[in-house]
Structures are given as C-alpha cells and as structure tokens.
C-alpha cells in the first residue's frame, strides 16, 4: 500500500524518502550499511520511474472502475435494475457479446452438418476391473437395507493371479469362520493390515471378489459395523433367497486406515502378507515413514 501511495504523482512522499535516505548516508560507516543504502536508492529510483509512467498528461483519463460502472448501466438499459450481487445478468453478458461479435474477425467454427465421424469400437480391455464391488464405509450407517450379493459378471476376464488369491482368501475366511465358532468375522479385522496400507487395499479388493461371486456375505451388526461370513452353499443360497442385488462403494484413506488399526488394536494381519513386488515394498516403506 505504501508503494501505491509513493507512485501516486500527487504525493511527495517519494521525495521525502529520498531526502531521509540521503541524510542517513552521511552516517554510513560500514560497507554493509552502504549496501543497504544503495539498495534503498535503487528501490526509490524504480518507484520514481513507475511514478513517471503513472503521470498521464491526458485531460481525459481512463479509470477502470468508472469504465466498469458505465458498462453496467449500458448493458442494463431497459432491463429491470439488477441486484448488487449480480451487476450484469447472464443474459446481459450474452447480449453484450452478441453486439461485440461483429468487431471480431473470427473464422466461423466448422462443424459437419451430419455430425463428425464415429469413433470405432472401443478396444476391450484385457482385464475388466470389477469396479462396482466396493462398500461405502460412510453410508453404511445410513442404509436401511444391508448390501447383499452382487450379480455375477462374466468370469472369463479375470486374470489368473487374482483368481488364485481370491481362492486363497476364501479358504482363509472359511477357516477363520470355523475358528470363530461359526460367527461372522469383523470385516475390518479381516482386511486391515497394520503395517501396510497397500496390503489392506488389496485385501479389500480380493474380498470384494468373494462377495461378488456370492461366496461371502457382508452385513452390518447391531452397531452398524460390517461383518463378513462365507456362504455355505452358494448355489442353494442364491436360489433360495433370490435377493435383490445391491452395490456399494468403500473408500479408505491412509489416515482412516491408521485410525482403524489403532481402534481395532490390530497387531498382526489376519490375511498373511503377500510376497511383495519391489514397487509394493517401496510403497510400504513410504507408508511406514509417514
């Protein structure tokens, strides 16, 4: 703000500052002070230059704010008075634009009359990610009904590695279920890995396959916390219950993951750590360092 005042041709504060600097210069003994003094002079001369630029000799000076005000009244001619918040209405801008178009020598945008050429068939991705498979952690408490089994998709697109992992997971789930006296297992205790966020996410991913294929069921307990249990007779279950399929989305941030691990006091992962690729281990290390 001081700068603006100094550049104003009307003010003399710049000259005053120069005078002060000049007086101080007499007291300069050390080179450092001399350097400061010359820096000050440099700044003052820059400002002086800007001041000269601002000095307009026109009788009629262009003031942007005044221009804006005139624009507003011009555009709003004949229209009902706009509120203070709007100034120029949407239609006002459009009208202003329409009137201005003739000033612009714009080449017209070229569009085919019958539309552009069609895109070809999108190349089918080799591995179709099942992206409908996630539970919404936040919305679970709001849902009146419990998410049930998913409609099964065409299985032929799964990669083998995933299938193997999923089967391993199913075996593990069934084992834990039996050990838990045939009670459903807390979902978070099942999937959370205390050391690795990426392992946790992978666990959730593979778990979602189980649910999708109707091999596991996720439901909420009385406290609205999610539980997971394996389905005993998948084919029979489907036929008997014939339940409507629901989808949900789960999201988990690293922050939330850490909090959950603390809350559930998870020290060892229920799902064994998978042998990591180098990428995974460096990601794990990064997580630990955070």
């Amino acid at each position: 703000k001081q700068k603006h005042d100094m550049i104003n041709p009307e003010s003399t504060s710049l000259t005053e500052a120069l005078k002060t600097a000049n007086d101080l210069n007499k007291d300069v003994k050390m080179p450092r002070e001399g350097a400061l003094d010359s820096a000050t002079i440099l700044m003052i001369s820059n400002y002086g230059r800007m001041k000269v630029d601002n000095l307009k000799t026109d009788f009629l000076k262009f003031e942007p704010i005044e221009y804006a005000e005139k624009l507003i009244s011009f555009v709003n001619q004949g229209q009902p008075r706009q509120s203070q918040d709007i100034a120029i209405s949407n239609q006002g801008w459009i009208n202003l634009g329409k009137a201005s178009q003739k000033f612009f020598m714009k080449s017209p945008a070229f569009h085919f009359m019958a539309g552009s050429f069609e895109r070809g068939e999108p190349v089918k991705k080799v591995r179709r990610a099942p992206d409908s498979q996630r539970l919404d952690k936040e919305n679970l408490s709001d849902k009146a009904t419990v998410p049930k089994q998913m409609k099964s998709f065409d299985e032929s697109d799964k990669s083998e590695a995933t299938t193997a992992e999923v089967e391993k997971l199913l075996d593990l789930l069934q084992k834990l279920y039996r050990e838990n006296e045939r009670n459903p297992i807390c979902y978070f205790e099942f999937v959370l890995h205390p050391e690795s966020f990426s392992q946790t996410v992978e666990n959730m991913f593979y778990t979602s396959f189980l649910v999708r294929d109707g091999l596991a069921n996720i439901k909420l307990d009385d406290e609205k916390l999610p539980l997971i249990e394996p389905i005993q007779n998948p084919e029979q279950e489907k036929v008997r219950k014939n339940l409507p399929h629901k989808q949900a989305v789960v999201s988990l941030s690293p922050q939330e993951w850490k909090e959950l691990v603390e809350v559930y006091k998870i020290t060892d992962p229920l799902i064994p750590t998978r042998v990591c690729s180098t990428l995974d281990s460096s990601a794990t290390k990064k997580m630990r360092m955070k």
């Binding site: 704010i65 221009y67 005139k70 949407n90 634009g97 020598m105 080449s107 070229f110």
Partner: protein
C-alpha cells in the same frame, strides 16, 4: 465498423525445416489424385482444428494429414491458404516468435449483419451462428481487451481483477456464466491467443501483466475498442488523446501495408 484485412503476402509461411525445392519435389512425387485428396484433407483439418480457436501445430498437420508426405508441407500450406481465402474468405496466419510453427485462422469477410441490413432490408442473410456461451465469453473479452487498450495497452493483474470485481466477476468466486474466471483469463484466452500474460520481473509476491495477444491483434481493431468505449462515455474518440494517437498509428500502418 469492421475493416477488411490487408492482403497476406505470399512469403508468409516459413519453410524452416524443408527447403522450397525439396518441398516441391515431395509434392510432385505424389500423383495428381493424391495431391488433390491431401489438399482437401488439409483444408478440412485446418477448419475443424480451428473450432476451439487454439493454434494449429505443424506437427499435428504432419501427423494427422500429410504423414509420409510431410516434406511437402510448405507447398501444401500455400495451396491450402489459397483455397481458404478464395472459398471461405479465411486468412491463414503463420505465427512467429514463441508460437513459431503454428497457425491460426482469421476471418476476412464482413460479419456485420445489421449494417448490411440497414442499407438493404430485403437481403436474406445467414449470419454466423455462435453459441450463447461463446457470446458471453466474447462479451467478457471485449470488456477486457478494451480496458487493457484504454489503460495504455497493458494492465496489471490486480487492476484488472479490481475492475472485474466491480462487474461482479470475481476471481475467487465461481461465476455463474464464466466459472473459474482466473482460469478463463490466464489459461483459455492466453492459449487461444487473445491475451498475453507475463510476469513483471523482480516482484515478490509475483505481479503479472495483461496485454493483447496475437489473435486479438488480428481479429479486432483498436479503433473499434476506442469507438466502443467512447460510445459508452458519450464522448468523442478524439477526446482520448493518447489512445486516439495509437489508433491513428495503427491505421497508418494498415494503409502502408495495403499500399505495398
């Protein structure tokens, strides 16, 4: 009143990578049918790429249209330029300096429908149709370009934003028509060539300046802006002494180049 554009000189298109004779050889190595087809593809390509008003790159031209005949680019561009001018009334402009190796398209024909209708009400005209979104952006552009010009052809960003805030177009607020205003000004208009956005040296926090971009200089005249503003203030253009002088200079330049 819109002006007619000066004649483009024929040596406009630089053939920096390929010499003229190399290009001609490459061009004549194509058989007649192929030459025609490539030329038509090229003209269409230029017209379609122009939709967003972003500069068209030589690289893209070679990749998408000319492909194996990219050496013939200089010859093809000259032919395309002629077609555009004769059939569409569109001028092909090759950009220099920082934008070297790109092109923009500019209109040469009078699009002022009202004026033509005034002189002959019985004319059936098909004026160029722009979308409402385009109209609104043009309105904003007109306001900004005129302000910059009237302010001495450069405006500091804080000044411009201060003025726009008066119009309730605020860079911190998502505008119902323009959305992210700052982005519109500093990204879209700059990419299209309507505005130039440069940083003042030795400023901290950084201060930026707005000027007219290359496209603005080709598409709109300073006289139009001065007339527009003068009308707004209900004053004569001559009363704006320094701005009027710039306009006179601009017109002097025009006369010079059309005379040559």
């Amino acid at each position: 009143m819109p002006r007619t554009n000066k004649q483009p000189d024929n040596d406009r298109i630089p053939s920096s990578q390929v010499s003229a004779t190399q290009a001609e050889k490459a061009h004549s190595s194509m058989d007649r049918g192929e030459q025609e087809k490539k030329l038509h593809d090229l003209v269409q390509f230029l017209l379609i790429m122009d939709q967003k008003k972003l500069p068209i790159k030589k690289l893209d031209i070679n990749k998408q249209v000319l492909k194996e005949h990219s050496k013939a680019l200089p010859v093809m561009m000259k032919l395309a330029e002629e077609k555009l001018r004769k059939i569409f009334g569109i001028e092909l402009v090759s950009l220099e300096d920082k934008q070297k190796g790109t092109y923009i398209l500019v209109n040469t024909l009078d699009t002022d429908v009202d004026e033509q209708l005034e002189s002959d009400p019985n004319l059936t005209l098909t004026p160029v149709d722009w979308s409402d979104e385009n109209h609104a952006k043009t309105g904003l552009l007109m306001v900004v370009l005129s302000a910059i010009f009237m302010n001495g052809e450069v405006m500091v960003d804080s000044q411009l934003y201060h003025m726009l805030r008066k119009l309730k177009v605020d860079q911190d607020v998502t505008h119902p028509v323009f959305g992210d205003v700052k982005k519109q000004l500093t990204v879209e208009f700059v990419r299209q060539g309507y505005l130039e956005y440069t940083r003042q040296p030795n400023t901290d926090p950084p201060v930026f300046e707005f000027r007219w971009g290359f496209r603005a200089k080709k598409e709109i005249t300073k006289r139009n802006c001065l007339d527009f503003v003068s009308q707004l203030y209900e004053k004569n253009p001559e009363e704006w002494v320094s701005q009027y002088q710039v306009v006179v200079e601009e017109e002097g330049e025009e006369e010079e180049s059309s005379a040559s």
